[in-house]
């Protein structure tokens, strides 16, 4: 810049043009910082996880550190979001290729595979390895005979109860059927131990469908009939909703259930404000942790109660998938293989049980959760899937709303499920 022009405080035209070019260069520079940049022989992976249930962020961070130590050429940036935000973040980030590895829920492979968001990994999982993994976990990454990722979280909703409260109500052993649950709840309520013995995750969210699915299974229902038409509005599906409504009407279920997701359920149970609840594995350790729970040591776990249709648990597994847009698919796979390996999973079993069959007989895993593992061993073999359809979210949203309308008494359970079935049929037809 000329000294003369500076002194006058003005610029010549040519200097202005120069400034403009410099400005443009700076603007262009803003577009950098792409994921997976390979600089100086290091590969950077961006991974997207969730912040609640199953492994904690501390768990994931230390698994990641261990991986980086073993693979000096690969750096991993884990990001954590709430489960409720996970799906939408994966979708919006997909065209930009922001993430290499994403955590995928069991209900998404149909959508993510159809819309080409995640990469097929069928060829990467040898058949010999598949047979070592529990079937329910494999379902979390399977769609139409192919695999899209690798199973990582194997979970289902267990039955939790406050042993102390049940004992005071005269209930000697854990209720094994839903009828016994109702009887126990009535006993707890009539003894005045607490106002609402049951709490559920019935907010307008996926959590509601998880609870409903587990009940639908227990009452012998199914989502679709043999020819693919909605069938949840009849038989067990209807009985499940009527059961839910009955527990609310009789004052056995906490009305706050209608605004609660799983973590709210955990907090209510931990505050000693509920006697019984369904929840994922992670609640066991946290509800019995004296630092976070007023009822530590009193919360016991049992197999989900039986109904006329049996006692299947909702399949709440999740897998790790590689995005199609990832520039580092091999490195991403290596990372997935590491944090989903049996060795790592066995080590971090306290909040999430391994996907590997033989882990359930290992001392390290049993010692982590001695009360949970025997229950898990049984219940993980009997799981019910939510529908595997590409427009799952649309379907789920519709069902959530209709179930809540019935629970709030705005519609009869029959009417609500009939309406949901009609909309579901048209959603499936248009997709």
């Amino acid at each position: 810049m000329g000294e003369k022009s500076m002194r006058r405080g003005t610029y010549t035209r040519g200097e202005f043009l120069g400034l403009g070019v410099a400005g443009a260069a700076i603007l262009a520079g803003c577009g950098g910082g792409q994921s997976g940049s390979k600089g100086g022989g290091t590969t950077t992976l961006n991974a997207l996880f969730m912040q609640q249930a199953a492994y904690s962020s501390d768990n994931v961070n230390s698994m990641t550190k261990a991986f980086e130590k073993q693979n000096p050429g690969i750096k991993v940036n884990p990001t954590f979001v709430a489960y409720e935000a996970l799906h939408d973040k994966i979708i919006t980030a997909a065209p930009a290729g922001s993430y290499d590895v994403v955590l995928m829920d069991v209900i998404w492979p149909a959508e993510f595979a159809t819309k080409k968001i995640v990469a097929k990994t069928t060829g990467r999982i040898p058949p010999g390895e598949r047979s070592k993994i529990l079937g329910g976990a494999l379902q979390a990454v399977g769609y139409k005979g192919d695999y899209y990722g690798f199973p990582w979280i194997l979970d289902t909703k267990y039955f939790y109860y406050n042993e102390d409260m049940l004992r005071r109500a005269g209930v000697k052993r854990a209720p094994a059927t839903w009828d016994e649950v109702v009887a126990a709840a009535k006993a707890v309520k009539s003894k005045g131990i607490i106002k609402y013995p049951l709490v559920w995750s019935w907010a307008q969210a996926e959590a509601l469908i998880c609870d409903y699915t587990q009940l639908l299974g227990a009452f012998g229902g199914r989502f679709f009939d043999g020819s693919g038409n909605p069938a949840f509005n009849t038989g067990g599906g209807l009985a499940a909703l009527k059961f839910m409504k009955m527990t609310l009407d009789e004052g056995l279920t906490n009305p706050s259930s209608i605004t609660s997701i799983e973590d709210d359920v955990r907090k209510v149970v931990s505050q000693g404000q509920a006697a019984m609840a369904l929840n994922w594995t992670y609640m066991f350790a946290l509800a019995n942790d004296p630092k976070q729970s007023r009822v530590a040591g009193k919360i016991k776990i049992a197999h989900t109660p039986r109904g006329p249709g049996g006692a299947p648990g909702v399949n709440g597994s999740m897998g790790l998938a590689i995005t199609r847009g990832s520039q580092n698919q091999d490195a991403a796979w290596r990372y997935i293989q590491f944090i989903a390996s049996q060795k790592i999973q066995d080590r971090y079993a306290k909040l999430s049980l391994p996907v590997w069959k033989s882990s359930y007989d290992k001392k390290q895993v049993i010692d982590a959760l001695p009360q949970v593992v025997p229950v898990a061993k049984k219940q993980l073999n009997n799981m019910i899937l939510r529908p595997q359809v590409a427009s799952y979210n649309d379907f789920s949203h519709e069902l959530q709303v209709q179930i809540q309308l019935a629970l709030k008494g705005k519609k009869s359970p029959e009417q609500a499920l009939d309406d949901a079935a009609r909309t579901t049929a048209s959603i499936l037809k248009s997709s």
């Binding site: 043009l17 403009g20 907010a203 906490n254 009305p255 605004t259 209510v268 505050q271 979210n393 705005k410």
Partner: protein, 315 residues
Amino acid sequence: MGAVQIKEVRPAVTRGGGPWRRLFSQEGPTAVVLLLPSLIVVFGIIIYPLLKTLYTSFFAVDSAFPGHYPFVGLGNYAHVLRTGEFWDAVGHTAYFTVLTTFLEVFFGLLIGLLLNTDLKGRWLFRSIVILPWALPTIVNGAMWRWIFNADYGALNALLTQLHIIPHYRAWLGDPWTALNMVAVADIWKNTPLAAFFILAALQTIPGDLCEAARVDGAGRLRSFFSITLPLLMPTIVIILVLRTMEAFKVFDIIYVMTGGGPANGTETVAYYTYVEAFSNQLFGEGAALAYIIAIFILFFAIIYMRMLQRGEVEY
């Protein structure tokens, strides 16, 4: 001096220039360079997304990836307008907008008047009142979610201890109550904005006007309704414009507090648009919805602009 200016401007116009001609005259390149950054910004973050959204709204786009999608014309618009859930959302949004805007102006007026008086420690009140507005909406939403919590919320504790309600209630558990409770959170946050606008306007009203009225025998109420309120009208209209448009687009507080539930009772049009576009991957429909909302807001904007034009005040 005016004559000199006209002389200088005239030749450029008579040369048949106009803006384009001038752009390529001697100062042209400099002008282009000067305008370029703002042009890039305006085009990149306003015009391009607007046009792209309009374009998307005519196609059955069902994925976030670019690609070839079937052209459906106005099909997305027609489908949206036929959906019951959309009209429910419009109803919730309209109710929310009217309720929050009205109460924010009302409380804003009261607080503004209070802060305009000779209170002791007025500066302290003025700083405290602005706090809710300074809070990010996400934080505000999370805070009120806790206050309204059915099992250990502060509101339940307060009301039961004062014996106003017999036992704890799930404030966000009923569709209608939940919508009103979200409105409360929004009113709490946005009333300070209205209060400050009104306070600023009050300070421009000459004191001798009220004094003259008092001399003429007008009471406090009379001078408020005949002098203060009419003079505040232009400011109130501006607050109405700002708050109506903001309230009609309400999204974040709903996302944090209720997620649209229970039973879609708090689903607003912006939230519905989000669900359709990002959760259900119906981007074409989402784009159509975005345009429908924009048309609604344009409609309000035109009404208010007319009110503003009529409401000019002279002291």
